[in-house]
């Protein structure tokens, strides 16, 4: 007990000591940055960077709404950002401190303005689509050589799922995104807020539920790369990271990402500064650092997600900027849709449905 007390006291004293140097605390998605950039920021600015990661918008939102998270920069997705702005969780950006803001891409800024009018509270970090990651060899083995690798039929039709179950299928543990996909599959409005329409997705999900190995929002990267699973509903860049890891491991696994032919959701991860950030000044420095074309290009080249920074585009590697899975062709863009936040009541309907689907009862 005494030892415990001593260690605690030492930790507190140490914490106080460390706090004397300027620090910025960033809370970002997992597997979402080239870690060399973190070091670069520290050497350039002399600020200590404390970098934590999460893998669900829900966890981030709870921290934001509880207040006092202690973070200076956080990265919610569009719909979540919009709701948290309403709750007063963020402070307006001081654009005079952001000399690189002119590098941002107006096409993306226009789209993110639907969540954050005038982009007053946030800058776009990365954006992408939610689609289908497959192990090409295994899926063809199970379903034949001419199977469409970009169709929702692959993972929402029980006949196909039954054959894929053996090699393993993961779904994102992100209820709002999966519900939107199933609504699109049913020919309904993916952004529907009508509980009765949303309820229709239950039947589709329950029919394929027995064949889903796991609901998880980050493990599928490694699972795909190692060949442990053959298909996953996932986020574009994550699947492409899996493709890359498999390629590097040279394990004979070929991973492909496709947006759904039926239409995919487009999402935006936005960097914002919490209203109670301990170091808003440092946070602005971090945002400005991220908006530097070279830094943003390095990040995208590393994580295979498209970014909202137009000036970074000439610096992107060819396999990033020319890959339609990352920067979709205009044809695909027409097929993409965006969603808006649920009210608390509808959110409860969706969560309840999700609990039911996940527990399979």
């Amino acid at each position: 007990m005494k030892n415990l007390f001593l260690t605690t006291a030492a930790a507190v004293a140490f914490g106080a000591l460390a706090a004397s140097a300027e620090e910025v605390r960033v809370y970002n998605w997992s597997d979402y940055i080239d870690e060399d950039l973190l070091e670069k920021f520290e050497t350039e600015t002399g600020i200590d960077l404390i970098y934590d990661v999460f893998d669900s918008n829900e966890v981030l939102e709870t921290k934001m709404l509880a207040g006092g998270s202690g973070y200076d920069v956080v990265v919610p997705s569009g719909t979540f950002l919009q709701r948290q702005i309403t709750a007063g969780a963020f402070q307006e950006l001081d654009k005079s401190k952001l000399s690189n803001i002119g590098n941002m891409w107006d096409v993306i800024e226009e789209l993110t303005a639907q969540y954050d009018p005038d982009n007053a509270y946030s800058i776009n970090y990365m954006w992408g689509t939610t689609g289908l990651g497959v192990n090409v060899g295994k899926v063809r083995e199970a379903l034949g050589d001419d199977v469409a690798l970009d169709s929702m039929e692959l993972i929402l039709n029980p006949a196909n799922m039954e054959k894929l179950a053996e090699c393993g299928v993961y779904f994102l543990d992100a209820p709002t995104e999966i519900v939107a996909i199933v609504l699109q599959y049913l020919g309904e409005d993916p952004d529907s807020k009508d509980p009765e329409v949303i309820a229709k997705t239950e039947e589709v999900l329950m029919a394929v539920r027995p064949y889903i190995k796991k609901f998880h929002s980050s493990e599928y990267i490694n699972a795909l790369a190692n060949g442990d699973i053959c298909a996953a509903i996932g986020w574009s860049g994550d699947v492409l990271q899996a493709r890359d890891r498999a390629y590097e491991a040279d394990n004979g696994v070929e991973i492909a990402y496709n947006a759904f032919a039926e239409g995919s959701a487009m999402w935006f991860d936005q960097m914002a500064i919490p209203a109670d950030a301990p170091n808003p000044d440092g946070a602005h420095k971090f945002l400005n650092f991220i908006m530097d074309p070279q830094n943003m290009a390095d990040a995208s080249n590393y994580v295979y997600f498209a970014n909202g920074n137009e000036a970074s585009q000439p610096l992107l590697e060819d396999d990033v900027i020319s890959d339609p899975a990352i920067y979709p062709t205009e044809e695909t863009v027409k097929n993409l849709y965006t969603t808006t936040p649920y009210s608390a009541k509808v959110q409860r309907v969706v969560t309840r449905l999700w609990t039911k689907v996940k527990s399979g009862t």
Binding site: S56, E58, V59, E61, T62, M64, L65, A66, G67, R83, T86, A87, G88, A89, P175, K214, F215, A275, A344, Q347, R348, T351, R352, W354, T355, K356, K358, S359, G360, T361
Partner: protein, 296 residues
């Protein structure tokens, strides 16, 4: 006077670390959700004095508790948590008692080492230990590799992401909490009582059941409480080792809190969980006390 001060210490402890937090949770359970920081309303504002307090009280209601009765998810989760907690407590007792018994009967100079060995796992983070069970129990994990290589099974067993993995995790994690109180009860046991029982014609087995077990009852009860109470609200073990079919109230609480952002309903779930725990414990203690008085 001195005695009063001494009694005051545990009561202050109880007040600061149990009653006040509980009052806060209970208050939130009577509130309504709101999109704000913090995400519920009303919050206590004493700037208006007494009127502000009255207004605050008038806005509280039991709606969230009523809500819990409208959806079968909640009582199903309570029941399945109770089931998992009871079964794992019994399993832990069966595994823990022989270990404690062996320790108490070991030669004196071994006991400190044995005791140390029981506590040793605590030197590693709980989370890391649970994670390593994932490595042991997964389909390609060490356990399956071992069983396959010695030919016990021909197909790998699916243990991870099932309730069996949850039981293994709980028994493993809470075993020391069962062993330690039972050991301390058995260690105090007067050996001459056993000799007397055998002198009076008891076989060793019946002496164990008639003398050892009843005299270690206090240790068994303490151990069972120490395992059962945390197991009932367990969140980490079912979410890491359990499958999506494992329904436990800890996970429901997490969903209410994180996915629904509904702190009031989450608090209501927590208050009920506490009642489920406290009422039987109080009844049990009353009963014990009555028995003691009757004996005394």
């Amino acid at each position: 006077m001195r005695r009063k001060v001494l009694i005051l210490v545990p009561y202050l402890w109880l007040l600061a670390l149990f009653l006040i937090p509980f009052a806060i949770v209970f208050k939130i359970s009577l509130s309504d959700t709101e999109l704000a920081i913090p995400p519920y309303t009303p919050t206590l504002d004493l700037s208006d004095g007494w009127n502000g307090f009255k207004e605050f009280l008038s806005e509280l209601d039991f709606e969230n508790f009523e809500f819990l009765t409208t959806d079968d998810l909640y009582w199903k989760a309570y029941l399945s948590s109770l089931q998992i907690a009871v079964i794992s407590t019994v399993l832990t007792l069966f595994v823990g008692y022989p270990i404690a018994y062996g320790m108490a009967n070991a030669p004196d100079h071994w006991r400190p080492t044995l005791l140390m060995l029981v506590i040793l796992p605590f030197w590693t983070s709980f989370l890391i230990r649970v994670y390593s069970w994932m490595g042991i129990l997964s389909t390609e994990g060490y356990l399956n590799q071992l069983l396959l290589s010695i030919g016990v099974i021909s197909e790998p067993l699916t243990i991870l992401n099932t309730n069996i993995a949850v039981y293994i995790g709980i028994v493993y994690t809470y075993l020391p909490f069962m062993i330690l109180p039972i050991y301390s009860a058995l260690e105090r046991l007067d050996g001459s009582l056993l000799e007397a029982a055998e002198d009076l014609g008891c076989s060793r087995a019946s002496a164990f059941w008639l003398v050892t077990v009843p005299l270690s009852k206090s240790g068994i009860i303490a151990g069972c409480f120490l395992v059962f109470i945390p197991a009932l609200g367990e969140f980490v073990i079912p979410s890491l080792l359990g499958g999506s079919k494992t329904l436990m109230i800890g996970k429901v609480l997490f969903e209410e809190f994180f996915s629904n952002r509904d702190w009031p309903v989450a608090s209501a779930v927590a208050v009920i969980l506490l009642l489920i725990l406290i009422i039987p414990i109080i009844l049990f203690q009353r009963n014990e006390q009555k028995q003691r008085e009757a004996e005394g």
